[in-house]
């Protein structure tokens, strides 16, 4: 049988975004894979060098459009490190609340898209409906559904409104009912089980060497979650379990995400209780003024100008819904970051796709690539 290359993408129902999966097939069998990305490369790292610290937050929302607030916090943590600013505790709790709500909405979005790919139509409608409830919560305190522009160097823009915690508790109660129902739809479906169990296996050792992170890594049985292992923000004060499953296939990844959603609900409840008890400011008082003043048009100003602000470097890593994301900011004492580097978990997870695609059939590709949870905006930046 002769081998041939097939292009799947950039416009393909499987891709969920703009990328091109080139697979070499021998009949139905995949023998090689060469993913091609960059169709959504928007030069975010370069534009960051032209923007003041607070203005970069706008770009971070658009970096990953299903988990915008996670990237906001990632960038803000690195920038605060580089500028040596500490946010007040209430701001940290509002951030963690946003994080976990975002994780919940991102995983629900993944569930909606993935199970539809597998062949069940109802979960898409379930998922989109329940995701809108979380987006309504976001809208009530950030003003936007997806692109929030909520976090600031030294805190968050505003506090949660009056009555928010009760509304949020109601949504969490609703999710308590819904999450078992989500699982019931999948676990009682022979189609789903047949198409996910034992498909797309990537063993733990390969995961680690390939740099794969997030639910894929934990599904392979590696017990690593940066929220617990390298604590940031106020996660050490919260009580939660890390979801680990010992089946490195599509089904294991689904299981890990389902468990993470339950843990997110648990964390949100704890944060809401804390917020009820502890009022306070949400923005640090001593934030240098230039951090947020309007920017001149790009190209008009030399960005290495020095204003006597102490230089520094900031590095932050966090557990984003897709995996471990990192940001590296170099502050050279100017109003703009000298260099902003973002590490996207999806970028690496796509890069490793050869290792978990080879040996399976062409018809398994949607099931395998869907289980990775790809967000192209994040991988291409």
């Amino acid at each position: 049988m002769s081998e041939m290359w097939i292009n799947m993408g950039p416009q393909h129902p499987m891709t969920h975004g703009l990328w091109n999966l080139r697979v070499k097939v021998d009949g139905e069998l995949i023998v090689d894979a060469d993913p091609e990305i960059g169709y959504l490369h928007r030069g975010i790292e370069k534009i960051c060098e032209y923007r003041r610290y607070n203005e970069v937050v706008t770009l971070m929302d658009r970096t990953c459009y299903v988990a915008g607030i996670a990237w906001e916090q990632l960038y803000i943590m690195a920038a605060e490190e580089a500028l040596n600013i500490n946010p007040p505790p209430r701001a940290e709790y509002v951030r963690v609340l946003s994080q976990e709500l975002q994780r919940l909405s991102s995983h629900v979005m993944w569930y909606a898209a993935y199970v539809q790919d597998i062949g069940l139509m109802t979960p898409f409608l379930y998922g989109m409906r329940d995701r809108d409830l979380i987006l309504d919560l976001f809208q009530s305190y950030t003003g936007a559904r997806m692109t929030y522009e909520f976090m600031r160097v030294g805190g968050v823009r505003n506090d949660v409104p009056v009555g928010f915690t009760d509304r949020c508790r109601k949504v969490m109660d609703w999710f308590d009912q819904r999450l078992p129902e989500y699982e019931k739809v999948c676990d009682n479906s022979t189609i789903f089980l047949e198409r996910t169990k034992g498909i797309g296996v990537l063993k733990a050792a390969d995961c680690v060497n390939d740099g794969v992170t997030g639910p894929m890594l934990r599904a392979a049985g590696v017990d690593r979650d940066l929220r617990r292992d390298r604590p940031y923000s106020v996660y050490p004060e919260l009580d939660f379990d890390v979801a680990v499953y010992d089946a490195p296939d599509c089904y294991g990844r689904y299981r890990v995400r389902m468990e993470e959603m339950k843990q997110s609900v648990r964390i949100v409840r704890q944060v809401l209780d804390w917020l009820d008890r502890n009022p306070g400011p949400v923005l640090a008082e001593k934030v240098p003024r230039f951090v947020g003043t309007p920017s001149p048009p790009p190209g008009k100003e030399i960005y290495v100008e020095r204003r006597g602000y102490p230089k520094g470097r900031g590095f932050s890593a966090m557990e984003e819904p897709h995996g471990e994301a990192m940001a590296y900011i170099i502050n050279e004492g100017a109003e703009h970051p000298y260099r902003a580097k973002l590490r996207s978990p999806v970028f690496v997870n796509i890069a490793a796709s050869k290792d978990y695609l080879v040996g399976y059939r062409v018809s398994d590709i949607p099931a395998i690539m869907g289980s990775v949870d790809i967000c192209v905006g994040e991988s291409d930046r």
Binding site: G43, N209, R224, R339
Partner: protein, 161 residues
């Protein structure tokens, strides 16, 4: 190595590689910052991977300092629960660093991206192509000599050329 700590690892690294490795002052968010000479990079990487439990190469990136180009590696250790920062300096003209893909396969696309964005060649990389920009693009956009312009300015410029 179960009794591995950072206090023993960094001196062991310094004693083994001598003047090719320099431990720089650390910052609070990383375990340590180590400057490595380009020629010994793969050996150091192999040592850190095998003896130092740094099994996960999280990030390869680069910074254009105009006088030189700095390539950064962030390595994660499950035993030490933290990141180690390796930095390598290279010349701005024809910058090149040995590739660490033989140690961590995960560094593959990170190195391709660094080549794409900063023009750093990775010697021994199995497949050094552009990853984000299309093949045949002439520039390396994250160099400081590359400037951004409003699209209107560009159109005017193009008309005058």
């Amino acid at each position: 190595m179960t009794d591995l700590t950072l206090a023993t690892l960094l001196p062991a690294l310094e004693s083994r590689f001598g003047p090719d490795v320099k431990v720089l002052p650390s910052r609070k968010e990383v375990l340590g910052v180590v400057q490595v000479k380009g020629e010994r990079l793969v050996e150091v990487a192999r040592f850190l991977h095998d003896q130092g439990t740094f099994t996960h190469c999280a990030l390869v990136s680069g910074v254009d300092w105009i006088e030189h180009i700095e390539v950064l590696y962030h390595l994660w250790s499950d035993a030490l629960k933290g990141y180690l920062e390796l930095t390598v300096e290279t010349a701005p003209e024809e910058p090149h660093v040995p590739s660490v893909t033989s140690v961590w396969r995960g560094a593959n696309w990170h190195e391709r991206e660094t080549w794409d964005m900063l023009g750093v060649r990775f010697d021994g990389h199995p497949d050094l192509r552009r990853v984000l920009m299309p093949e045949g693009y002439r520039f390396h956009p994250l160099r400081k000599s590359f400037e951004l312009h409003e699209p209107e300015e560009l159109e005017v410029k193009a008309r005058h050329v």
